[in-house]
Symmetry: C2
């Protein structure tokens, strides 16, 4: 394939400084694995010394999970037109079960490649696609089931542990017992545990062989809860450069995967730019593009067009496909009396197709052929919930649960092919009905990872659906959902801009972390403990840096107390300098230490007597009352 | 009492238009009770007709709870210097058990009244205070226990029902069964039910006889979940006019009660302005002011100073007092090894006092004397959780639960005096430990209303604690908490400005409503159903108006599709005009209707056969795979 001349986009595509500036107070580090090319990125947050008045000790740095790729690394040279380095290329090649193809396989892909009208927007320097050799299965699940620990699995194991072994302070490691609802999370994540979880289908490691730029990550109920951020232009908004920047912005704040839901023109080219520059797995809903190929007329969709679209996207490197194969003809009429009918775009497309032809969903009838494609590139299934409820009223109805049962059936087919599979879930669900969703999904789908949109716990807050849904997301994450698809404040109202993306991600990072804490994920509380200690000791800078959004925390603090000196002040704006509960607490602590009245002493000795004495005093008062 | 000359503040105090403009798409209505002066405010949201393509029917208006007082009523004349009309004055007078005092009782109050330096900031036209006649008990609980249904109780009953009886459409009323964890919510709230709930202590109706301007509301697990918004200046920020405006702003968005947590100077005058203009109950933490009276030296606090402060505030009309009487000396050392010690300001003040004197908390030892004051004005207790956890690590520890047990003991004392009582709760609690808090509170405190701050479900998101806490608030509201104290995005960082107050309230209105839905509160789903129907039918304006924040919803919509015509468009910006799942759903619905394939038909007749047929097709595919 000849190099394509520098496009207009190539010359102009540049990220704005706001999305690439380093995250304050921390530095990118890489933890090396068993071979030098396993270099797992993390973010190390340096902390200051405890002020003398509080004890004066050193505070060790805290290491956190880092999804931001090289963009937040001041050492990294970013060139969007070149794409990221293909860090997995060697691992893929070493396995010897794939081959570089002489050209793109998909007809559509080839047509786009040779269309001179697209020169201005095409990603330059396209690599040739790879595919499994004839008869080979190149999925991580296939390797896992054969007992092979891939470099990707080892990478993930290191990544999940977040260097917890380096945290030695018992107080920092202290953690409440979790309630895991059947989760089986080990104290230390080993490569073998990763392999085993993938082998049994309880986790997926989405990593298309044509997306060697991706930094391996894992989605499963026994790992850290992940979040997905959707981006994508539509007919009415957004361009390629904007979408790439949105992807970089999304991973900066913690998006573990990104779904490109573009539906406008240049959908193919946009995706290419995104994937080539994305260190996180990219998911898509191929039916959106297939529909564009038939000018929006769902009834004209064919298996052949869809198949070509799958291959087109698989050869670009999409890591997981949402496939609405569970929207069966017989379920469609079950939605007719719903308040909001079918709200999933993919679901409604397939429903329309089924009704137009009065035939079964071709994604269902061709499901095994889809599996053959998935395993040739290691694309994971995200089995779409096309009949998810679009409002509280429609939650947990026959259509939704019928489809979920079918997704369970399809999961088993996919597993027969060793294709990695996760299951999409709702949607809009009031709190008391959330657990039923999780329990049914675990049961029907054999613990395949659940990947839910929210759920939104009420419909009455347009403009705030990141919050209505973060509530449901935290709960279902606790119950066992492996990945939470974010909802932005613009949900139901418009397309998210950059601020909305940030707000949506923050709400979901909170939900995911709250879920990890509640499940008792080992080490999940370290960051809370470190931040709370910093808060108590008025180490403002440390408090900012340990937060999910250091920039926002500082900005808010500075609104009330802008002076730099106040970052060292032993009081805060809420109470003012003369009246500070933290300060009083320190007095209490000093007093307790002086008088030997610490907790142990109180419980074991002196206080028992004292307590009795006070109870007596109290009793006297109440006798008089 | 002579009229005080017009103060500077009187001349300048005016609300900005942004806090008083009517709420779009709705009008203030008043539902009359058994007597013409029981006029219960509600907000009626008018809806447009369903477009012909979706059926063309009329949509009845939806009535919602309205906390905003006269400020959103274009008919009302607002004069901050005059205060609101004393709508309960007649009811209070009729009972014949109170008397107007010749002067303020509290020494401090009298001193402030006669200090000419305060002329510029003093509220003009002060009414003389009322107090119970000697030996009388004027609490709503006292009346309730004697079988009396007060006008306040009837008001509340009407208010809680939100005209649900007017909603006749079955689809609009459709609702999922709730999970109430022992709540006993009737289908219709009667005045007798209100009385009974107050009598047994399961609900409180905070309405100081010196706050006749207040519109009665109720707090209890069998009523709608309420939210509180905190306002208040501190030594470093904010003035009187700003605080009054903040109160009006808070109730505009749905604050059911407002706590004035001011700690700066003019604390007395600020409170007077707020109460005289507040249609919602006002709560305070009297120890904050008492501490100011001893120049911030906690150890110099005395029962006498505190007592005078209680009376001062009771005669101004404060409706509930946070009293940290459960911070017992024996619990204080239990906090010494906490990560964040004592974070409650009131709790730390009392802890310091206890340690300084090595004596029991004077709020505890004088508790029955406090009850005597409470019942002379009908001030409700909000028994403070001075030892609540300030971080995840400290949740549910011995100090917190010890104090809760004491609060249970104090509840029973208060009830002996027929003093209305609620219990404050945490704080910072990971999700898996939340229910234990609720269960223990119900058990220890005999179902007295629980009033929780959040809880925050993680510590790692400074700048977003309205979200970390809305998650916990929704859950604990579901489990049985009666009122949720909001947390703003500025929590831990600075003083909330107006935008923060709005954001905090929205997060908490969401949490409270999500809790009502989950408990299965009768009629809770009507607004969700109406909004979802509007959404499905592309009635954009109706969708905005039915939302918790119509202004924000419109603003977000307009960012992407600003043109007025788009409010009527049968598509939205997310998918664009040629690709719309809602539109496809309508096609599905039409198709199903045409072919008799509605849900009933599908279940009862044709589809059974069809389903079997499709299963067969599917089976065939899988045989081949």
């Amino acid at each position: 394939m000849n190099a394509i001349p520098a496009s207009l986009l190539q010359q102009t595509a540049q990220l704005s400084g706001s999305v690439t500036r380093p995250i304050p107070g921390s530095r990118k580090i890489h933890v090396e694995g068993s071979r030098p090319d396993i270099r797992v990125p993390m973010r190390e947050i340096a902390l200051t010394r405890t002020p003398t008045v509080f004890g004066g000790e050193d505070n060790p740095p805290v290491t956190v999970y880092d999804t931001s790729g090289p963009y937040t690394d001041p050492e990294a040279r970013i060139d969007l037109a070149a794409g990221l380095p293909p860090l997995r290329a060697q691992w893929i090649a070493e396995r010897g079960d794939t081959e570089e193809l002489p050209a793109l396989t998909s007809e559509f892909g080839r047509a786009r490649e040779h269309d001179p009208k697209l020169d201005a927007v095409r990603f330059p320097g396209r690599r040739l696609p790879r595919r499994a050799k004839a008869g080979a299965n190149v999925t991580q699940m296939h390797y896992a089931r054969r007992g092979i620990i891939t470099p990707e699995m080892e990478f993930v194991a290191i990544r999940e542990n977040q260097r917890l072994e380096a945290v030695r302070d018992a107080a920092l490691r202290a953690q409440h017992p979790g309630q895991g609802f059947g989760a089986s999370i080990p104290e230390v994540i080993t490569p073998e545990f990763v392999r085993d979880e993938i082998a049994r289908g309880r986790a997926i490691l989405p990593c298309n062989i044509n997306h060697p730029e991706s930094e391996p990550m894992i989605i499963g109920r026994n790992f850290l809860t992940k979040i997905n951020a959707n981006i994508g232009n539509s007919a009415v908004s957004s361009g390629i450069a904007e979408e790439v920047e949105k992807m970089v912005w999304a991973i900066r704040w913690g998006g573990d995967t990104v779904m490109d839901l573009s539906t406008g023109k240049h959908i193919h080219e946009t995706r290419e730019w995104i994937i080539r520059n994305s260190p996180v797995p990219i998911g898509t809903v191929p039916i959106y593009q297939a529909l564009e190929k038939v000018d929006g007329r769902a009834e004209e969709l064919t298996w052949e067009i869809f198949r070509d679209t799958l291959i087109e996207q698989a050869e670009q490197g999409v890591d997981y496909f949402t496939i609405h194969a569970g929207v069966l003809l017989r379920y469609v009429p079950l939605t007719a009396r719903r308040v909001t009918g079918i709200v999933s775009r993919g679901g409604s497309i397939m429903a329309k197709w089924c009704l137009a032809h009065h035939r079964e969903n071709f994604l269902y009838t061709h499901f095994e052929e889809i599996c053959e494609i998935m395993k040739a590139y290691d694309v994971a299934f995200s089995l779409g919930d096309g009949l998810r409820p679009g409002c509280i009223a429609d939650a947990n109805d026959a259509a939704q649960f019928g489809e979920l049962e079918t997704l369970g059936e399809l999961t088993k087919i996919a597993w027969k092919h060793d294709v990695q599979t996760m299951i999409e879930g709702p949607g809009h669900v009031p709190m008391q009905l959330i657990k039923e969703n999780m329990d049914k999904q675990l049961r029907e789908c054999g613990e395949a990872p659940f990947y839910t949109l929210g759920p939104l716990t009420t419909d009455i807050a347009p403009g705030y659906d990141h919050i209505t849904s973060a509530i449901g997301a935290a709960m279902i994450g606790w119950y066992g959902t492996a990945m939470l698809c974010y909802v932005t404040p613009k949900e139901h109202l418009g397309l998210p801009n950059r601020q909305d993306v940030r707000d949506g991600i923050m709400a979901y990072k909170i939900a995911a972390h709250a879920a990890d804490l509640a499940k008792g994920h080992p080490g999940a509380q370290v960051r809370d403990n470190a931040l709370s200690k910093a808060r108590f000791e008025f180490r403002w800078e440390d408090q900012f840096h340990l937060g999910l959004d250091p920039e926002k925390a500082r900005e808010f603090h500075d609104e009330t107390l802008p002076k730099e000196a106040h970052k060292l002040a032993h009081f805060c704006s809420m109470c003012g300098p003369h009246f500070c509960s933290m300060k009083i607490t320190q007095d209490v602590r000093d007093y307790a230490a002086e008088h030997g009245l610490d907790e142990r002493a109180a419980l074991e000795a002196g206080m028992a007597g004292k307590a009795a004495e006070f109870r007596e005093q109290g009793a006297e008062v109440y006798r008089a009352g």
